[in-house]
Symmetry: C6
């Protein structure tokens, strides 16, 4: 496959090859997967790859508390306490001491717009090369009206598009709506049960502006994060 120049690495071994070199900078990508598929690890690897290159990165966590995440990622060799790594803890469960402290979580259900506004404000002040929002699912679960969600999401993407940052949004597998249409690419992390065995496969479903490997490839979550075996097939019959 021809490697298109100007792409940036995902930080995930093997996946860059599937993408013909990496992601196109300045665009927004969707990473889909069920619970335990490795979405958070994906997001962190993507950001830490930027940190390694001296980029300023932003991580918005909506599911796992930032404190827990720092602890979990240390085991995979990722030190999130890096000056270039910026985190926003937008999880509903933990007690906030900074940005989202106070009244916010008493009205979590009505706060999608508020949250996206807060992120946009932060993003407009500082300059980031990479942004990850992990996962979008939580926001959707707390919004009553599908149409309202779409409108707010569109406004959110619009704000992100002005930043020039490459953005990775993670989401649950079941989400199959406006997110897939409005992002420049969709990567799926799948868990397949076959004969009592669990197989993990990664697949590029959509990648605007570039050819890509259309096959499902096996991947593993190792002690060094996600590894994609881009020259192998998922099933060997």
């Amino acid at each position: 496959m021809i490697r298109i120049m100007g792409k940036i690495s995902t930080g995930i071994r093997g996946l860059d090859e599937m993408l013909g070199g990496g992601l196109i900078p300045g665009r927004t990508y969707l990473v889909k997967g069920g619970p335990g598929a490795g979405k958070t690890t994906f997001a962190i690897q993507f950001l830490m790859e930027g940190v390694k290159k001296g980029e300023n990165v932003l991580y918005v966590t909506l599911e796992e508390p930032l404190v827990t995440l720092v602890e979990d990622m240390r085991k995979l060799g990722f030190d999130l306490n890096h000056p270039k790594f910026n985190g926003i803890d937008a999880t509903p469960v933990t007690e906030k001491t900074h940005l989202f402290a106070g009244a916010f979580y008493e009205e979590f259900g009505e706060s999608f717009e508020r949250l996206t506004t807060a992120i946009r404000e932060k993003v407009e002040v500082e300059k980031y090369q990479r942004v990850a929002i992990d996962p979008l699912t939580m926001l959707k679960l707390t919004v009553k009206n599908e149409l309202e969600y779409r409108k707010t999401f569109i406004g959110f993407l619009k704000a992100l598009s002005k930043l020039g940052a490459t953005v990775v949004i993670t989401s649950d597998l079941r989400t199959s709506d406006i997110e897939e249409y409005l992002t420049s690419g969709v990567i799926e992390l799948r868990t397949i049960e076959a004969g009592g065995k669990i197989l993990r496969g990664i697949m590029v479903k959509k990648f605007r502006g570039s050819p890509f490997d259309e096959q499902i490839r096996p991947y593993r979550i190792t002690d060094n994060g996600i590894e994609v075996y881009h020259t192998e097939s998922l099933f060997v019959e």
Copy 2:
């Protein structure tokens, strides 16, 4: 298969053969496919085929910003900065500087009628031989009422039918409603997963006024756009 005279080429190698020569001019066709199936590439190839023949063409983009599209299509060898190629950027995310600037996107959800009116006005002033609307899905996702959507869509088709242009509308696979009934033909781009491998197949589901190849044929998105292998079968068992 007998080639019916007076048809026009789709610009897609192999597909014209499936259609017994091409599309019937002056009618509206539906191209269906999931994310990453190549709907946008299809629409662009269809329009650029007209440009090559000196036709005036119109592209209405609802998903991918026009700026990004111009950049992506250059890699496939299509130069959209051609005087005969006219684009309307109706994507919800990008900042507009021309036609749809201003209040519009603040009320995207209620704006289907407004958008269709705008397109009709543009189309009535200038004369186009080919029109592509890519994709219809975005409009549907932002409309609350199914019945209201149908009424507006009918009015939209009615306006298009007076133009004399050949129209290609792209849409998501899941759409299975009034669009399939009111268009003169339906072409499906499919992605089939078999044993961990991804196969791509194209199929003419409906083609009024002409016989057509009823089989599913393999296709690929190559460096020159979509290519259909109309003499091959999708499965070789």
Copy 3:
């Protein structure tokens, strides 16, 4: 199979044999099939068979504009510009110059009753041996209330039943409601995908007052219209 006397030909080679001679005159039949299955061709062949015998026939088109239909059917050797062939163009898209011109299409959504009334009035004045309504689907798609649809449809059938005409109503495959119960017979046109190949099969699901061939038989849309291979099986294993 014993041929029951007094039946009339469908005009479709092979299908009459499946029906033990043809349709029972004066009754209403439902022809079901997806987009591209050949419902319109079926309806036209049924009517032109009557024209050949000197009968007065009526075609009500709800999907394809009458002008386009005349053009398309000429290629199959059917000349709709015959004095015995009467058409009502009730499509929502085309500009009407006669019967349904004017205010009607601005309120298409609420117009099922209005349309059926118009057809009934026409039918009560003139005398037809054969009537085709193609397809019913469009009417259903523009009606808000299922129950209201049923009531209007019942009133419509009631009016038709007084005419003495043999009526063919076409409909989408997904329709599985009051139409199947209140008509004297149901014929299905199916498209089956098997191993990347497309097979077309025709099946008589219900035929009151007569025995019939209960098997699915292959059919093709040829240059002379639909042909049914009533002595063959759909699958050869």
Copy 4:
């Protein structure tokens, strides 16, 4: 299988054997089947068996007009113009000249209760050994409220239960509700598609107060009505 004394014949060859002799008199049975499965033929055979034995029988038709039915059944050798055969034409489509003439059909949708009342009144005046209501489906399709339907149906069964007549109610396959619970037995007429071939099978799903053949048996609609092959299996592998 032991034949329980005091049962009455269904009039259908082979089915009596499946039921260990026939139906238990004075109870209500449900016969389910899709369009074209033979529900009407079943109901008529059941009633004509009574007529042959000198019983007074009542047929309530809700789908096929009585006039058409008389004509259709003559071909199967059943003469419905017998003094012991009483019919109520409750079809929505035909013009009534007797019982249900007039205002009734203008309000068909709200008339379930009215219809059941009319049937009950007729039934209470005259004495019937066998009653068939064919099919219940039509009533359900015209009722807005599921709960209301259940209440009216319960009142209807209650009235029937006082008559001492054996009652057969036919219904669509999809009905899977209160009718199956409140009747003494359920017989299903099935159409199975296997490899492009159509197989017909009959099955006793429930038969209170008697053992029964639990297997699916093949049946055919012959020139003499339904015939059940109670010693054969549906599939021969």
Copy 5:
């Protein structure tokens, strides 16, 4: 399997072995099965086993009239006219001459609470060792509000729990809600169609406080009631 002491027999041969000796006294069990699966026979066998041992038992019938039931069960050798066998006829169809006569059935839909109150009152006055409610389905079908049903059902179970009786509640297979959670055990009667043959299998899905046979075992409804073949497998391949 170790037999836990203090259990009571279900009265069904083979099932006691599956349950490691029988049911735990004083608890409530759910028996699920479709129409014709033998739920009523199960309930009666369970009660008559108590009668044989000199226990006072109560049967609440909601589907089959008590009169018919007495007649049907006599054929299986069960004499329900035993002084220890108490019945409440709560069927909606039959004319009541005792407990539930009068206004009740005119408002069947709103009467769940009324019925449960009546049963509770009866149960609180007299002392029963075994109680069967057959089937619960009827109650659910006549209740509008799922949440209201749950509340009333909880209150009902609460009253039953004070009695000290062992209770069997029968229910339709589709019921998969609060009943499965709040009862001490769930037994399923299944009908499996395989290759045109009908197989009957019984399965203990849940049995609190005891180990149990987790396999599906074949059963038959014989002239002596239900028999379970607890040492056999349902499928022999």
Copy 6:
């Protein structure tokens, strides 16, 4: 697999190995399974493991009355009458004499918030190392509004997160919502029917902060509680 230090044992043989040593203390885990899968046994084993080590534990029962549970667990060798074992009986059916006596169950449907508040109050006063809530399903079944449920559940988790206790929440298999996202791990107990045989398998779906065995492993409910065979495969082909 590398054992991560500082984990705590689940008390279930074989499962600790699947989890690379056990659960991470101070986090909340979800155990999913259908009726009879062993969720309660899992919760009790988890708590009794703590009791063995001198920890203070809390069990909140929402389905099985505490009295019955004590009796059932004694048979598995677990003595719940231990001073370190604290129970809250929040079942809707039993008569309360302590905490939740009185008005509560008259309004069970509206009491999720009340219940969670009561648990939180208890938990805040006393100090527990392990908490089990068994099962969450009951709470969900009695809540009208999905969104309201999510908000209350988030508040509940937030309170639990401040305790420092390791929490196990059990839930029905069908639950596939916010619980899976907001907990640190998901363990599924599955019942698979294959050829009339029942197989039990356990699977770690998600386990934040640690690698884990991704395969489904067989388990059994023995006389000593749940046992996991972590070196075996569920299917042997």
